[in-house]
């Protein structure tokens, strides 16, 4: 039986193949961003049309489509190299000026704050990757882009995990990232490794950069690397000895005299300097207990994970409910830290300084009024 086909050949011509290859690889930053954002070619064309390139250059939709496809293909071919940025510099296939290479790498490794907040502190495992469609739905970031970002985290994590030396430097060297971006990755790696809880409701108000700042503090002060800088994993793991020593701080709350003494020193120092003096005075013991207890529990990995939530529950929330300003918090923590040094019977000055330095800056960063 004959199948009758309506041969209304409306389209008489179709492009079978269409490529453009420059001796210097041409890459449009805008199109690159669209690609990174995980747009399909047709979506990207739409965005570009709305952006007004066509009017600027008297181009037609066909031209735009052809250009977009071509560039997407180029990026795809480059992706393998971008995953190993060191290769990009000495590969021969694409001739790309160094400043362009840097741009390509930087943007490839850039990530969305919304995305990273979802993943921060989670194990970078296949399981997490499977849940990325939820993340995508929640954040509005395309799944493709989510996957790229996730894979970047994982790749960086795997590479630096086994390296000696400072974390940030290692990331810079292996992935040729600029300093701020390398620091962000250090934070991500650090969080992933220690599995800090960041997803609880109470933590939602914190931005990635709040956490990244805290991670920087922890890396610089609480890890093995802060003391000895040629140890494996030095920047990724917290200094076990230090954590052990933190238990000694318990004396500050366990010893009644010490606690009272500490309180009076702080009160003397703060009297008249803050509007929330009364609240502070009333709450001192609670707050001090909270902070010292956090310290004492850090030997337990589970409690390490809850470090940030503990800070909020034990310190930030009480202060906030009493309407402390950031200045009040700062003043309080400064004197709280310093007064302990004056306590004659308190012998753990070094550990105290190391501990409170980080706590203070973390709390200040996390204390949004």
């Amino acid at each position: 039986m004959l199948l009758v086909v309506n041969t209304a050949a409306v389209v008489k011509m179709s492009v079978e193949l269409d490529v453009f290859v420059g001796n210097t690889t041409i890459m449009d930053k805008e199109v690159y961003q669209l690609w990174l954002n995980g747009y399909t070619v047709s979506d990207a064309v739409k965005v570009r049309m709305e952006g007004g390139v066509m009017e600027e250059c008297e181009a037609s939709a066909d031209v735009l489509l052809s250009d977009t496809m071509d560039q997407f293909r180029t990026f795809q071919m480059c992706e393998r190299l971008l995953q190993n940025p060191a290769k990009l510099a000495n590969q021969l296939l694409f001739q790309i000026p160094p400043d362009r290479q840097a741009m390509l790498i930087e943007r490839y490794y850039a990530f969305d704050d919304a995305f990273v907040r979802e993943v921060l502190g989670k194990k970078l495992s296949k399981g997490t990757k499977k849940d990325l469609d939820d993340v995508s739905a929640k954040t509005g970031i395309t799944l493709k882009s989510c996957r790229r970002q996730f894979d970047n985290f994982k790749r960086v994590f795997k590479v630096v995990e086994e390296l000696k030396g400072p974390l940030v430097e290692n990331i810079k060297q292996h992935f040729l990232l600029p300093d701020p971006l390398a620091r962000d990755y250090a934070a991500i790696v650090f969080f992933a490794n220690n599995r800090f809880e960041t997803g609880k409701k109470k933590l939602q108000y914190l931005t990635f950069h709040d956490f990244a700042f805290c991670a920087g503090q922890l890396i610089n002060n609480w890890t093995v690397g802060a003391v000895d800088n040629m140890v494996e994993d030095m920047d990724v793991d917290l200094d076990k000895e230090f954590l052990q020593d933190l238990k000694d701080l318990k004396i500050l709350i366990a010893d009644k005299d010490l606690l009272d003494q500490h309180k009076s020193l702080v009160c003397v120092a703060l009297r008249g300097k803050t509007k929330v003096f009364n609240e502070m005075e009333a709450n001192f013991k609670n707050l001090s207990r909270g902070l010292v207890n956090i310290a004492a529990k850090l030997t337990n990995p589970k409690d390490v994970r809850d470090f940030f939530i503990d800070l909020i529950e034990k310190f930030i929330e009480p202060c906030r409910s009493d309407r402390w300003t950031a200045t009040d918090v700062n003043l309080y923590l400064t004197h709280y830290t310093n007064s302990a040094h004056i306590l004659d019977s308190f012998k753990h000055q070094t550990v105290w300084t190391r501990y409170m330095g980080v706590i203070k800056s973390c709390i200040l960063r996390m204390y949004h009024e």
């Binding site: 001796n23 795809q76 510099a89 296939l93």
Partner: protein, 1049 residues
């Protein structure tokens, strides 16, 4: 044993994982030359192996050195099964055989596999120790330099231009051998790559021998092509221009060399002064006006007989036979006809046998008059090449065509053909051979025997810059009807109304306004046929195709208000069901030629009112377009009072009258002549749909977007403010016609849109470079299979200095010069040039004159011609109807055009920003350009010719991103391999780069595709002119010296 080749394998990197279990590779390397193979140790379990091998030494004949490539194979060692090949590198060691070229090849080469593409890189070191060879009867031609560049390469000076050299070798295509049925695609591809590499080497060696016989030392404008004839074999042929070149540096103190001598070639020529009798004083050339004469060459569907007999040369491709073994060129020992021709060629009269020059740019004073384009085509039926050692059929075919070209040139009163090129288009067993060039009269200055034209010798004293426009033929005895007027520059000689050429715009030419790319595109359906019937059908179609193309070109030229075409290139491609014609050229307004008339539309049925209205509407549109174009291209020629000076020649009106006629369609001519004979303008009849189509296509050509210029010559006439930022690119498109029942018009429209859209895409892609010019835009069209049209474009986009876009184009300096010279250099050189030229003969060139006025440091000497006057000639002889008037040539005319004589102190303070292109990272940047120079730089050394042939095949097309993904990565790989080879030779750029062949075949159903690409170019070392500043005083002295020498001559 005249040579020792040494190779050392240093290291590898980024190797692919060959052992899945360990994710590593146990790599080792085989190094093979001829039949000798060495192996490195296995470097276990590494993707970045360090072999650091000993030096592998091959003791070989220099003949082998020329023919054979060094073959490096990287393998993965496998204890239990066969070793897996990772990929190969072929290194052409030819550049090492020339004392002045590269001395060592050292660098990272991509490891290439025909199935997987590039798989990592390998670091190799290669050297050659050559022993002096005293044997006069040697078969090798080591030391002959080859250049793809179509003009005398910069940093050389031509002592003698000997003339045409050609050779072809044939072989069986390994792809079609019986063994191909049982071997893997990889083996087959590699056999082919290797065979072609061998054949190219052999071809080059043989051409080199001819050059040596002629007493030359170099081949310039070397054009090598492959004809993949399928079943009937594989032909590799080459043509070129033999020259005796002298490195300029050798004449001057070494220190000066880089500064001075290496300046733009054009310059060199001009001031080539220092040699003794060499092209001393810039004798400006007074070339004639090229008319276009259109003659259709014969289409002889002759079948080449000689059915195969014993053709069992399968071994050829497999065994790398050294020596002349494999496909001997047609040659010397061939049939009687051949032998005869050969003899002639070899005689001292060779130049006259085929006075052809592949050059498109010439030393100043070489090109005297231009007659017009000459071309010849011939349709042949392919037959199996039964004996590779006697390829006489192919040779005879080309002889035939060349003879025809020669006779066309004669008909135009010319004794030479410049800008000569040859091409083929093959569809199954039918092959169209085409040759074209520009008929010209040349000065004897660079000829060995100087006898070429006695007549014109006299002119040497002071030919005017407009000279090349003056007609070379006898006015009373014109080869075709044409309309002559007095030259608008000198007013003494006759010029044609329109001039078509295949060469570049001569540097001395005076151009009004700017030029632009003009294309005529045509598609004609053809019935499917076989064998002789097919050939006849094609033969019958060809004349019409050419005629139409020519008419389109002429119309488009007029629509832009221009009067001359340069770089004309006509391609005809055959498919099973259609013929494609694409003519590309750069239109300009030559100041010397009359202003073109308008285009007038005439309807045939004047009674119909609406029709009249329609006609007048169109007329208006056309007039508007012309006016707009004149503004766009800044064409505002000075108004000339009618022929005041000239003798009273009735026809010499400002607007020339042209009818659309053609020798072969005399009826039409007659008719036209009757009806519109009185009109001044070019008349277009729209009595039929075809004509309406014509007009539509005229008007649908979109203008280039603002900020863009385009041309297919080396540089755009009228633009001087080049910067050093450039981008070479290749773009390929394949279109599928899904409706088989297309009419001619439908096809035309599709083809036209296709080309237009492609150009639009290019402009869009390159918009960040604006203002910029697309130079040397080269289209290659093909009909790979039924219903497919393939268009490949290679060009270079060069940015212009924004601040100087408005620079006056009239000043007619040579742009190349301008580009090529840094400010610094300019300052240094101007005075020199002036001093050299002015005193000796101020009238030598109009440009020279104009310059004299401004010898300020900033002043630019317009007189300098740049090396490439590349005029590329495609040639038909077209008919032009000019009324002939005798012009006496031979008298010494030193008039310069008024325009020029007005001293324009072109303060061309064009600050070439020496944009440093990307600072080099760990991989050295290699620039590529189809031009013969890089703006803002000096080429200080030519390292040798790059001529590479690659095959890529895939059986996983979808996985590689479809056809586009496949071809995209292949082209990128080809670029990468070219760059790697250049870098390994110590170079930092490829000039005169071209993609000769891009054959793409696909079978999506089988998920397969295959592509063959052939590229060539000259590897060079350039330095930025800004880097030359360090030695100004030396330059100065060098210049002075130069100039004084010049005067001496």
């Amino acid at each position: 044993m005249p040579g020792k080749l040494k190779a050392k394998i240093v290291a590898g990197r980024h190797l692919p994982v060959m052992d899945r279990a360990s994710d590593l590779t146990d790599a080792f390397v085989e190094v093979k030359f001829g039949n000798t193979t060495f192996k490195t140790d296995v470097c276990p379990k590494s993707l970045n192996p360090q072999w650091n091998s000993e030096w592998f030494k091959f003791e070989v004949d220099d003949e082998d050195l020329q023919d054979e490539p060094l073959q490096i194979t990287v393998l993965d060692h496998d204890t239990y099964s066969a070793n897996d090949a990772i990929g190969k590198v072929y290194i052409d060691i030819d550049p090492l055989l020339c004392s002045e070229a590269a001395t060592v090849i050292s660098g990272w080469f991509p490891i290439y596999d025909t199935i997987h593409g590039i798989r990592g890189e390998i670091n190799v070191l290669v050297k050659v120790d050559l022993f002096n060879d005293l044997n006069r009867f040697r078969q090798s031609s080591c030391g002959v330099k080859f250049f793809c560049t179509m003009s005398i390469p910069r940093c050389f000076r031509a002592m003698v231009i000997h003339g045409f050299v050609e050779e072809l070798v044939v072989n069986e295509d390994p792809e079609y051998q019986w063994i191909d049925r049982i071997r893997t695609p990889r083996a087959s591809n590699e056999a082919r790559q290797r065979l072609i590499s061998l054949m190219s080497g052999e071809l080059q060696r043989k051409i080199g021998l001819k050059v040596l016989e002629m007493g030359g030392n170099a081949v310039v404008g070397y054009l090598q092509c492959f004809d993949l004839e399928g079943e009937s074999g594989l032909v590799v042929r080459a043509i070129g221009t033999a020259c005796t070149l002298d490195k300029i540096s050798s004449t001057c103190p070494a220190a000066v060399v880089p500064n001075l001598s290496n300046s733009s070639p054009s310059k060199d020529m001009k001031e080539a002064v220092f040699g003794e009798e060499a092209p001393g004083v810039p004798l400006s050339s007074g070339p004639p006006t090229p008319l276009r004469a259109q003659t259709f060459s014969s289409f002889s569907p002759s079948k080449s007989y000689s059915r195969q007999s014993s053709s069992s040369d399968t071994e050829l491709s497999l065994t790398p036979k050294t020596g002349m073994g494999s496909g001997g060129s047609a040659g010397k020992e061939a049939g009687p006809l051949k032998a005869l021709l050969r003899q002639q060629t070899q005689s001292a009269l060779e130049q006259r046998e085929f006075p052809f020059f592949t050059l498109t740019g010439f030393p100043v004073g070489f090109l005297l008059h231009v007659g017009g384009v000459v071309s010849a085509r011939s349709v042949k039926l392919l037959d199996r090449i039964h004996n590779p050692d006697e390829p006489e059929t192919r040779d005879a075919w080309w002889e035939e065509i060349r003879q025809e070209i020669k006779s066309h040139a004669k008909a135009l009163g010319c004794h030479a053909v410049v800008g000569y090129s040859e091409s083929t288009s093959i569809c199954e067993e039918v092959c169209i051979l085409s040759a074209s060039g520009t008929a010209a009269i040349l000065s004897s200055r660079f000829m060995q025997d100087g006898a070429l034209d006695t007549e014109h010798r006299f002119e040497d004293t002071a030919p005017p810059a407009c000279g090349f426009c003056h007609i070379p033929y006898d006015e009373l005895n014109m080869p075709f009807p044409a309309q002559l007027t007095y030259c608008h520059c000198c007013r003494r000689h006759k010029v044609p109304d329109v001039l078509f050429t295949t060469i570049d715009v001569p540097t001395e030419a005076s151009i009004t306004g700017k030029g632009c790319l003009i294309q005529a595109r045509l598609c004609r359906t053809k019935k499917k046929a076989q064998g002789e019937g097919n050939a006849t059908a094609i033969s019958n179609l060809l004349p019409f195709l050419e005629y139409e193309l020519h008419t389109q070109l002429l119309n488009k030229l007029k629509l832009r208000g221009m009067n001359a075409l340069f770089g004309l290139r006509v391609q005809i491609s055959v498919g099973d069901t259609m013929l494609l014609g694409l003519a590309s050229a750069t239109g300009v307004y030559l100041t010397a030629l009359p202003s073109p008339g308008g285009i007038q539309i005439a309807g045939k049925t004047p009674s119909d009112l609406t029709y009249e209205q329609h006609v007048s509407n169109m007329q208006k549109k056309i007039n508007d377009t012309i006016a707009k174009n004149k503004e766009l291209y800044e064409i505002s020629p000075p108004e000339w009072v009618e022929e005041v000076i000239g003798s009273p020649i009735p026809e010499s009106r400002q607007r020339s009258r042209i009818f659309r006629s053609h020798s072969e369609s005399s009826d039409e001519v007659l008719e036209l002549d009757l009806s519109h004979g009185k009109k001044d303008a070019f008349v277009l009849e729209i009595d039929d749909t075809d004509a309406i189509e014509d007009i539509h296509s005229l008007l649908t050509d979109a203008p280039t977007p603002p900020g863009f210029y385009s041309c297919n010559t080396e540089i755009m006439p009228g633009i001087y403010n080049w910067t050093s930022s450039l981008q070479m690119f290749t773009s390929v498109r394949v279109f599928r016609l899904s409706n088989a029942n297309l009419t001619n018009q439908g096809l035309n429209k599709i083809f036209n849109d296709l080309c237009e859209n492609l150009l639009k895409s290019l402009y869009f892609k390159l918009r960040s470079m604006v203002p910029c010019c697309l130079c040397h835009v080269n289209f290659i069209v093909a009909v790979p299979e039924d219903e497919l049209i393939q268009v490949a474009v290679t060009a270079v986009a060069m940015s212009l200095d924004k601040d100087q876009t408005q620079e006056n184009g009239r000043q007619s300096g040579d742009k190349t010069l301008m580009k090529a010279i840094t400010e610094n250099e300019e300052q240094l050189q101007f005075p020199l040039e002036l001093s050299a030229e002015c005193p000796s003969n101020p009238l030598s060139s109009a440009k020279g004159l104009s310059e004299v006025s401004g010898p300020l440091p900033s002043a630019r000497a317009p007189s300098v011609d740049h090396s490439s006057f590349t005029d590329r000639c495609s040639s038909w002889i077209e008919q032009i109807r000019l009324k002939a008037h005798t012009i006496r040539r031979g008298s010494i005319k030193t008039t310069s055009s008024l325009e020029k004589s007005s001293p324009l102190p072109d303060s061309r303070s064009r600050s070439l920003r020496s944009n440093r292109s990307c600072p080099s990272s760990s991989v050295a940047v290699v620039k590529m350009t189809p031009l013969s120079f890089l703006p803002g730089t000096k080429i200080i050394k030519y390292l040798g010719i790059i001529n590479m042939f690659f095959i890529r095949e895939t059986t996983s097309l979808r996985e590689e991103g479809g056809v586009s993904g496949f071809l995209h990565s292949f082209i990128a790989e080809v670029f990468a391999m070219v760059r790697a080879h250049v870098a390994a030779l110590g170079g930092n750029a490829v000039v005169s780069y071209s993609m000769k062949e891009c054959v793409f075949m696909e079978n999506p159903n089988k998920n397969q595709a295959q592509c063959l690409i052939n590229v060539s170019g000259d590897a060079v070392i350039f330095i930025r002119e800004s880097e030359l500043e360090a030695t100004p005083s030396q330059t100065q002295s060098g210049n002075v010296q130069t100039s004084s020498n010049g005067e001496g001559t």
